[in-house]
Amino acid sequence: MLTKTAAIASPNERRPIFIIGPLGPSPWVHLRSAWRNRYLMGPLCYLALAVTYRFTILGWWWLIIRVTLPTLGLIVIFQHIGSLQPRDLPYPLFVISGMSLWTILGVGLTQGTRRMRIVRGISFRLALPKILALVAGMALPGVYALGFLLLLFGGIAYYYATSGTLFIGSLWQLAFFPVSLLLAGMLTVGILAVTSVVFLVARDVRMFTIFLVQCWFYFTPIIYPLDVLPKAWRGAVLFLNPMAPLIELSRWSLLGTGTLHLPSLLTASAVCLGVFWLGLCFMSRAEVAIPLLPVK
């Protein structure tokens, strides 16, 4: 049980520089510890990025390759399928705008599942709130998203130069893109809070996560517009898949096209916040459980 620092005056009339308290099992205790240790975010983000391409020859060039090649492959193949083409947008911009948000979840889940194992050496020597490691791990998908945004703005510039049409949202619409990023990030962290802990003891979960991400990708309107789906399916996708309304929101905010479905958007926001909170509760309990496990 923590004593309230405000009620106890420091015997030296000095404020403590640092307070070390329990990390769990209450989510509020965990959040407080995470806030106290927020100075770790910078080094942890650096760690998340530094270990990604170690022992590779191409190094950070892999970022460009992993951003561009798969996306270009999708564009090259699927742009010839007439039924998948959006009505008011060039297909490449359509796909890239979807990928820019999808990468938060896709890369976040596949890479972030191993986050606890990667930082376990640090957690042996430092009382590290594990949620910080997960949030810092989102630096990598964030860099990927930035890469997609650069690619998108390059595409927008190309189409403006060639066709004279500027496919970009207005300033107030662009302000909604960080909101979609934040919600996607919270959804990802909430899921990672469970998968990364379970991965410490059973590696099956990572294989399951890769499979889940692949299936989820095809259930999300990234490479096809939502209109191509039958009406009944549209509703199911919008309400059962929280990423679908978020992708639509990001597309609407970046490119200024499309319409927002407000009920599904509110549902998706609630789901993202709920998953994040549940993940935080799970992680706060895991803070007590992880030291007891024979982690290999």
Binding site: N12, P16, Y39, V201, A286, L293
Partner: protein, 710 residues
Amino acid sequence: MLTVSTLSEDSLGDSVTDDSTTAQRAQPTIVELINVSKWAAPARLTTRSRQNDALQSLIELCVALWQAKNLSKGVLFSEPLDTLLDDLSLQIPAGCVVGVVDIGGRSRTAFLKVVGNVQPPSRGEVRLYGRAGSVAQAELFSMPHRTCRINFANSAKLTGLQAADIDAGLERIPSFSGLGEYLDVPQRRLPKWVSSDLAISLMCCLDLDLLITEEVSRPVSDAVKESWSEYLRSAPEKKKTVVLSGKRVENIIAASTHLLLIDKGRIRAFGPTQEICADHMPFLEMAATTVSKIDDRFDSAGSSISDEEDEDLDAVDNEDLDAVDNEADHESVFPVAETPLEIVETPLEVTETPVESGPAESDLPLWEDGRTRLSFEAHQFHVAARAQGLDARTLKRLDHSYDYESDLCRLMCPERPLFRREDGGNIMIPVQTFVPNLQLRPELELSLTKQEGPVLRIRARDNITVSDPSLVMLETPLPPHLLANERYAISVGLTVVGDSGPPRVLGLKDSVKFRVRRDDNDVPVEPNCDLHGSASWEFERCTDEERTSDTALWFSFAPDGRGEVTRSFGGIPIVSEFEELRFSTSLVVGEPNSEVSASLDLATPASGTIRYALPTPEKITEPGQYSVSVVLRGKELGPSLFRVTMTTLTRASAEARVLPIRVQCDGCLIVSRETGPHVLTAGKPAAMELDRSWNVRSLSTERTRLGTAC
């Protein structure tokens, strides 16, 4: 000036913060602990073990998550966890070098981890009023291919220091340590001692207000030792605080200005070193005799970043492959002939030679493991310190309260030998009976903790009659050298004999005690048994029916006869006095009409070498492969530790060939875990009977798998 005063024995566990002394403090507080508690991880989360490690770990994770709230309160399924720190409240002033001492090491390790922000407390709060760092955190961010400078800089950032402070600290390392040339070398190329010394140099050079280190004698190189000593000496003047501990109490006392004594998780005393030493010397002496094992994870230096970024999840764990027994390579090395050529009429010569060379008995490295040797040394010291000759140990998952004053010491020693092997000891079972004229037959089974099934069974030969309801202690002697260097689990069985009446009620006290009774000359003595029917005990070796022929103990020897064990396997070779021991080896005779000599040497530290030899060479007419064997009774050997050597000499080749031998007993092979002399022991020493024979057999016509009966 201290913020706290030394506590008396009656006020154990009370907060040492006295408000009335607050105003008298001249030094500001650097660390404040408020109701800090920490509990140890439970030994097990589930009762069942499953073969699938991942499934077992997943189930334990689910249990831990389910019980998370209870675990944070120090309880697991309504059972309290071991308390490492119990509601500590303490203020450590600036400018002190505080040595932390406890018995066993667990509480002080937990204290250092909590104060150093290595682990969070289970409850309570630690407030730091300055910049703090632990030496263990110097290598927090250790990427093997990066230089020390980069790794240290990143590690220091993880402790919250600013870049400018870190750079200034790194600049001071060369002058502090004299190891400046290693700073720009990739970490993986550094010897471990250099990494360790650089780590402590870094933490000293950073401008920290509080430094925590788990081992006061950590520095290896002379320059760092000197700088470290100077740092400790000058810390009070510079208002720096150091909280340290170590494996040797005398080093802690020498380095500290203040001592913090922790007893059973509570603060026993905190104050200037001299006062604490004067008032609490028995406690310090007891702490000095306890060899503690600092948590390796707290102490280890190494990469903190997982190297599994590119792992192939489908790859087989190579460790599993290494565990495969490759004895199958030798399955046809020693085939056995069908038709033996017996030389039973030839008299055998027994020579006993004193130990010609080698270390004295007290210097014999009975255990190879350095850790166990340390435990052994501590045990000796403990025995010497206790005038009553008390050195009882309690095994198993029992309570580990240490009662200094009573005659029985119940202390759990999971990794220490029970007692000195050359002394033997007594096992005692306390039994509470509630009915008169109860006839009992106790039985003990000793199992290796990592093996299934007992390796030694101790039964009473006759029934024991307890005439009145009472608490009785059933005691049996264990002869010297019976048990090998292993940790045993003991199961107690109690049979009520002649149970024709109503069910008998027995209470078996939850403890099995060991004691070595000694006389005034510190010589172990046999226990006095005054219970009816408590006759001598007999020992029986438990045959493991599942042991296969691949589990063999092999020796290979140098040509001059020195023995060297090539491989060994798990298990305890204990032979009862009535069993046969067959030593055999194979010999290749290349020339016809060769003369072969053979000898078996059993060397013991106590009785020298016993040699069994053919007095005259045996003539082998035809070349081929032969087995040479000798059979001994277990009784003849007595309980002792033997080093076995078997030598054959072929006159024709004029060369002594020492070949691998195997030791076989009752159709199954004896196994041993240790790479060294294995135990061949028997029951109580009895009158020797010579009963042995040599067999020389032709092996050319029969080839059988290893392990079949000769």
